[in-house]
């Protein structure tokens, strides 16, 4: 739909038409879906009443698959075909995956993004993630007995362009309309900020199973602004389990000989860790191959053996504060996210560092999904009174490779998005007619230390002496943090442009093919559904066009009015006569295209009116 709908203040166009919008926390170890119901965000449970979906997908021989708890249960017996923590592989090449030799998967090295060999053939991390997302989508659609309008999906603040693009591709594959990708810590702050109506600088301390994230946010007048992010992508609750397991073994004076021993020790350590959140002393018994061991673990022992891990989180906090140019005293509150923040020593370290008790009112496992749901509800237009505006920043700098393998930074990190920034480059040799551009992301000065995002070429530069050409390279980052790059020789006007999703991203065609494949099973059902959807879309487009014409028809010339009128007439006729979804869609698209200029003009008018109104108030 190309037309901008503008309603009178305080009136919604159709109060009965509520759109189903959800927030999805696509996590490393588990995922959740939440939605705003009766004004309150809540996580949606499965048929068994559980809100958490383990992020595990198992491929069975044939076409079947298991997702969530069922798959988790099979992890030990069918490790090769049971993919857990797939988030670590999103947008990553084989070489990027630390510790892959210890993983049970059969990796297939592919340009850009690694694939996994399963009993059902090669699966990309995008496809595996799409299974999880589709499961959550069906859960939401079953809950509301309606189609999903769209979703806000959360990603870690440190996710680079490749990882964000892969997440968006996975959503598209799962048939989900992505309203927005937002950073996990930002989502947590939304959940707390709205509930408590707080203003000021906040820190979001997110300690999960395998990663640690710290974000500094400023909240004012309903605006969420991320001012710095940092963290440690190899630090989490699992490290605490490991440290405790090592200590237990050391106390018992033994060595873990087998992998099974190590696994049992770790399970025992994790149970002890959880128990020590509420008791001061616990006896740990573990059956090892060479005999049982029994060790008393005190809370103080656990604190002592993990103090270095806790100190590492605080070092990252200090760094983020320095990036934000703030002192710890200026932080008004600390939001705790992730199950690992339940550990008392973590709570205490954070409280001591900031000199205040952290915020704990919301379930740390759910808080990210809840915040995403609030944002989704507003983006879908359900909450017209809502005044939430999210101003996010880009987490990692973006640049171009220059001579000698050096990076010229074009968009510095922590820049507010959306943004467009440009830099002029020139040719190196006399008569050079092409320029190879290599787009990278990262904070280091050498290209080799940054992540390569894309390569493309600007061709057809008129021959000139070296240094005479003026090639302006423009980086545009949209509100989801996704990059597109354009290059233009200023003298001749030669242009090249790409959306940065080449080697690792799926092309739109690939996604279309995958979508078709997944739908062939229930073909007849799909056809009926597609037809119904196409009719609804067509009606919505006609209605929007009519109300736009009623409101701002005077912006159009007589010819333009006639052209739009005939497109509307043809769409009405098609809807009445056709049983083919594609035909209706085409007619709808024709009307959308035909009204695009009109829509842009109305948008421009409304913004200028709004801005002019503000000016009058200011004077």
């Amino acid at each position: 739909m190309a037309l901008l709908q503008i309603s009178e203040p305080g009136q919604t166009p159709d109060p009965h038409q509520r759109r189903i919008a959800v927030g999805i926390d696509l996590g490393t170890t588990h995922s959740l879906v939440a939605s705003v119901r009766h004004g309150v965000a809540e996580c949606l449970p499965d048929a068994g009443g559980r809100v958490i979906l383990p992020s595990v997908v198992r491929y069975l021989p044939g076409t079947g698959r298991q997702i969530g708890y069922e798959a988790l249960a099979a992890e030990a017996t069918d490790p090769e075909n049971t993919i857990a923590s797939v988030k670590r592989f999103m947008g990553r090449g084989l070489a990027d995956i630390a510790g892959r030799e210890k993983m049970p998967y059969r990796f297939v090295d592919k340009p850009g993004m690694v694939c996994l060999q399963t009993v059902q053939g090669e699966k990309s991390p995008v496809e595996v993630s799409a299974e999880i997302l589709a499961t959550l989508r069906y859960r939401a659609e079953d809950t509301f007995n309606d189609d999903l309008f769209g979703a806000v999906i959360t990603v870690p603040a440190y996710f680079d362009d490749a990882q964000r693009q892969a997440t968006k591709d996975a959503a598209q594959l799962a048939g989900i309309n992505v309203l927005r990708l937002i950073n996990e810590p930002t989502a947590a702050a939304i959940a707390y900020g709205l509930d408590n109506a707080s203003e000021g600088v906040y820190a979001v301390f997110d300690l999960g199973g395998g990663t640690f994230d710290i974000s500094i946010l400023r909240l004012t007048q309903g605006v969420f602004e991320v001012i710095a992010t940092g963290g440690d992508s190899a630090l989490g609750g699992d490290d605490y389990d490991r440290a405790l397991a090592d200590w237990i073994l050391q106390q018992a004076g033994g060595k873990a000989a087998t992998a099974a021993d190590k696994a049992r020790l770790k399970t025992a350590a994790r149970a002890a860790k959880e128990a020590l959140s509420t008791v001061d002393l616990i006896a740990v018994e573990v059956e090892l191959t060479r005999g049982n061991i029994r060790v008393d673990v005190g809370k103080s022992d656990f604190d002592a053996v993990t103090s270095q891990l806790t100190a590492r989180t605080l070092a990252a906090v200090r760094k983020a504060l320095r990036d934000a140019k703030l002192t710890r005293e200026e932080v008004k509150g600390v939001v705790m996210v992730g199950g690992s923040t339940r550990m008392p020593q973590v709570q205490k370290a954070v409280a001591d560092f900031f000199g205040r008790a952290p915020l704990n009112d919301l379930n740390p496992d759910e808080v990210v999904a809840l915040g995403a749901a609030i944002q989704a509800n507003q983006l879908a237009g359900n909450d017209t009174a809502g005044d939430l505006l999210l101003l996010d920043v880009i987490p990692l700098s973006l640049g171009i490779e220059t001579m000698g393998g050096l990076v010229e930074r074009i968009v510095p990190r922590n820049q507010t998005i959306p943004t467009a920034m440009a830099q002029d480059f020139t040719t190196f040799k006399d008569g050079q007619t092409a320029l190879a551009l290599h787009v990278v992301q990262g904070e280091r000065d050498l290209v080799a230390d940054c992540r390569s995002l894309a390569r493309f070429e600007l061709r057809g530069i008129p021959p000139m002496v070296a240094g005479a050409a003026r090639i302006r390279v423009t980086f545009t980052v949209d509100a989801d943090g996704l990059l597109s790059v354009g290059a233009r020789e200023q003298g001749s006007g030669v242009e090249a442009k790409i959306d940065v999703k080449p080697s690792y991203g799926l092309s739109d065609d690939q996604i279309a093919t995958m979508l078709r494949d997944s739908f062939t099973t229930a073909d007849a059902d799909m056809k009926a559904r597609a037809l119904a959807e196409a009719r609804v879309d067509a009606d919505r487009m006609l209605l929007a066009t009519q109300s736009a014409l009623d409101a701002d028809g005077e912006l159009l010339t007589g010819d333009e009015l006639v052209a739009i009128g005939s497109l509307m007439q043809s769409l009405r006729a098609t809807v009445a006569a056709s049983q083919d979804a594609k035909e209706i869609e085409e007619a709808t698209t024709a009307l959308a295209n035909g009204t695009e200029t009109f829509a842009a003009e109305r948008m421009n008018h409304s913004i200028q009116k709004a801005l002019a109104g503000r000016n009058v108030e200011t004077i």
């Binding site: 901008l4 760094k319 820049q415 959306p418 801005l611």
Partner: protein, 181 residues
């Protein structure tokens, strides 16, 4: 007002060097509230693209207005005095001498106290230059003289960043040391 209005017109602020940061921030958020693509998430492609253009333009203006160096350079450009930094690096000898002294101090600095002292010195020079710019732009309206100060400020800020990188490295080292205890 349109996408091509200058930054000051867009933010409805007086075209001068002295600016109220709180007012600037408030205006930025007010403007983003009107034009941000999220406001039009359910309104289709054309509205999204238009919103994106406006939102980008307002962020661009905000980045320039909130940074004193960029703001001063922009005011000089608007008043016909080009900063032209890449082709004009000639600076007064006294200024260059001071730069060299600072660089020597930075190279020889070994501890946190020395680095912090240097940060304070550079900060003082920065504040003094800003004050001079304020005078030249808003009172004397001498943009040709102001351009020389803008270039001096570019040197000072670049050096200030370098000192802070060293300071960060020093602090990180201390973090690492405290970890080892």
């Amino acid at each position: 007002m349109n996408l091509h209005s200058d930054d000051f017109e867009l933010f409805h602020l007086p075209r001068q060097f002295a600016q109220d940061r709180t007012l600037l921030d408030t205006r930025w958020k007010e403007l983003q509230r009107e034009v941000h693509p999220d406001r039009f998430a359910a309104h289709g492609g054309a509205a999204q693209r238009m919103a994106m253009q406006w939102s980008v333009r307002i962020n661009e203006a905000y980045q320039r207005l909130k940074d004193p160096l960029k703001r001063a350079a922009y005011l000089c450009e608007l008043n016909g005095a080009s900063v032209n930094a890449e082709n004009n690096t000639a600076m007064p000898p006294a200024f260059l001498m001071q730069q060299m002294e600072w660089r020597e101090t930075l190279e020889e600095a070994s501890g946190l106290a020395e680095l912090e002292g240097l940060v304070e010195q550079v900060n003082q020079a920065r504040r003094a230059t800003l004050k001079t710019l304020d005078l030249m732009i808003d009172e004397e309206r001498d943009f040709v003289k102001a351009v020389a100060q803008v270039r001096a400020l570019m040197f000072i800020e670049r050096f200030y960043d370098e000192v802070n990188v060293r300071l960060d490295a020093c602090l990180d080292g201390m973090d690492a040391a405290s970890k080892g205890q």
